[in-house]
């Protein structure tokens, strides 16, 4: 696309694009209303209330896009000149409401403009975050914390309703195909404001969308599976978490290294919990060396090392939101330590005292006999140990065969 020299240029380009009404053009127009595109930096496009000028350029081909573009310039003005991100955010909401009312609701049997809509929503999320940051310094307390994300979610949800009710159009032109992108937009907002429960009906709608699923974009499918996997991990649904995150990892292009890395940050703890350990080279390749000692500790049953490395990398793991998940790996580490003890002792009846000795050896001094029995009972209940506790004899009696099943072979429910 030729570079822009003036407002006239800008309008002329949008105008000429609006003539073609296909998906590819939709993608081109989406750049013209993007806050991250090169044009957004051009000072001659930072114009306050351009739409209310009597003498101005117009997108004659399409009145609605004319209005959208004017509002877009107003957003640019507020971001770059007035530095009023609150107004920028509310103007972006206005654009989305306009888009819903005049395009999504009125233009039947066409969907070529959806790429534009996706871009507007993505930028609204970005503006909401900026607006949030810009007011968080004010002394308004937490009363309206998250209100920018809330208003963004509300606007996007209204559009979502419009799109899912577009049931009459043909497969190729239905706006229902926007469902997945919009679910992803809302997923990201709800992650920010901690309201993942609101996603339930949206997830169910995707699950039940039938043949439409084939028509979603791969970019959206990968992102969706990443978000879904993260949510499943927080909900302790490890099987769904593994399935979704593996799909995302497998289908994320190698060039998108940082996305693959983000997927791995959640996939690794889930996989470990299910008994699959990441190789040292995988961790190194994706610059996730913070996990190296965690893996070594879990493999060895070395609780002291596990606790130490979790504390050492606490900031990183908390920032990623996986600290609590990694702490749960202590259970597996107990199991592996006890397995080693049982192999060393070599009998089916193992005195609990031997486990106590092992625990003290790995620096765990705060587990008394009762707690030890509790840990072992939990391991038995979760099928990680086959055997029973003899409280009276202070012994663990283990099965003669396969007393410590391979973790990856245990079916979890």
């Amino acid at each position: 696309m030729p570079s822009l020299r003036s407002v006239d240029d800008y309008f002329a380009q949008v105008d000429s694009l609006c003539y073609y009404q296909d998906w590819e053009t939709g993608e081109k127009i989406s750049k013209m209303v993007s806050l991250k595109d090169e044009h957004s930096q051009a000072p001659f496009l930072h114009i306050d209330a351009y739409g209310s000028r009597t003498k101005r350029c117009r997108v004659t081909e399409d009145e609605v896009f004319d209005e959208i573009v004017c509002l877009h310039l107003h957003v640019l003005y507020n971001v770059h000149v007035a530095q009023d991100l609150v107004t920028a955010q509310s103007t972006q909401i206005q654009i989305i409401q306009l888009f819903n009312k005049e395009i999504l609701q009125k233009r039947k049997d066409e969907n070529w403009f959806l790429p534009v809509f996706y871009r507007l929503c993505t930028d609204l999320r970005w503006l909401s975050k900026c607006a949030e940051t810009s007011v968080s310094g004010d002394d308004e307390g937490d009363s309206n914390a998250n209100s920018f994300f809330e208003s963004a979610a509300k606007a996007i949800t209204e559009c979502y309703r419009t799109c899912v009710s577009d049931v009459h159009a043909e497969q190729g032109t239905t706006k229902k195909v926007a469902m997945l992108n919009m679910t992803n937009q809302l997923f990201q907002i709800y992650f920010q404001i901690n309201k993942l429960n609101l996603l339930k009906p949206l997830i169910r709608a995707i699950e039940n969308c039938g043949p439409l699923y084939k028509h979603f974009l791969m970019a959206d499918k990968v992102a969706y599976n990443y978000f879904l996997g993260r949510k499943a991990m927080f909900d302790a649904d490890l099987n769904l978490a593994e399935k979704s995150l593996l799909y995302a990892f497998r289908n994320c292009p190698a060039e998108s290294m940082s996305n693959k890395r983000k997927i791995l940050i959640y996939l690794i703890p889930v996989k470990m919990f299910l008994g699959h350990m990441p190789t040292a080279s995988l961790l190194h390749q994706y610059k996730l060396d913070e996990f190296q000692e965690v893996v070594a500790a879990v493999k060895d049953g070395n609780l002291a090392l596990l606790d130490a490395t979790l504390i050492r990398n606490e900031a990183f793991f908390i920032q990623c939101g996986i600290f609590l998940m990694l702490e749960k790996l202590r259970m597996i580490t107990f199991r592996t330590l006890f397995k080693k003890v049982s192999q060393i002792v070599g009998t089916a009846q193992i005195p609990l005292e031997a486990f106590q000795t092992a625990l003290r050896f790995v620096g765990v001094n705060d587990v008394d006999m009762e707690e030890l029995e509790c840990i072992i009972a939990n391991l038995i209940a979760s099928k990680k140990i086959k055997g029973y506790l003899s409280h009276q004899h202070r012994k663990l009696v283990i099965s003669k065969t396969n007393a410590f099943p391979t973790l990856s072979g245990i079916t979890t429910n």
Partner: protein
């Protein structure tokens, strides 16, 4: 007022900086949490078992084929503690 001004400055310098080197600066900015947008939207889907990266997960880490240093120390410790050793 000064604090909110600061906040605005930080958020708005990012796009300005992005002009110099749009790709890398933008990446840094969102790297913290956001899933990055893909440069392309469509590519062939890989099914189960069509992974590009294989052998990145170890399942048999648990078969004690060789005794680790940690296991040796644990054995010594149990022996010292007067426990039966096989």
């Amino acid at each position: 007022m000064s604090s909110s001004n600061n906040a605005i400055t930080t958020t708005t310098t990012a796009p300005a900086a992005a002009k110099k080197d749009p790709k890398t600066t933008e990446k840094k900015e969102v790297e913290e949490e956001e899933f990055e947008e893909f440069p392309i939207q469509e590519w062939p889907e890989r099914g189960d078992g069509e992974d590009n990266e294989v052998n990145v997960w170890e399942d048999n880490w648990d078969d004690e084929t060789h005794e680790s240093e940690f296991s040796k120390q644990l054995k010594d410790e149990l022996r010292k503690g007067g426990h039966q050793i096989a």
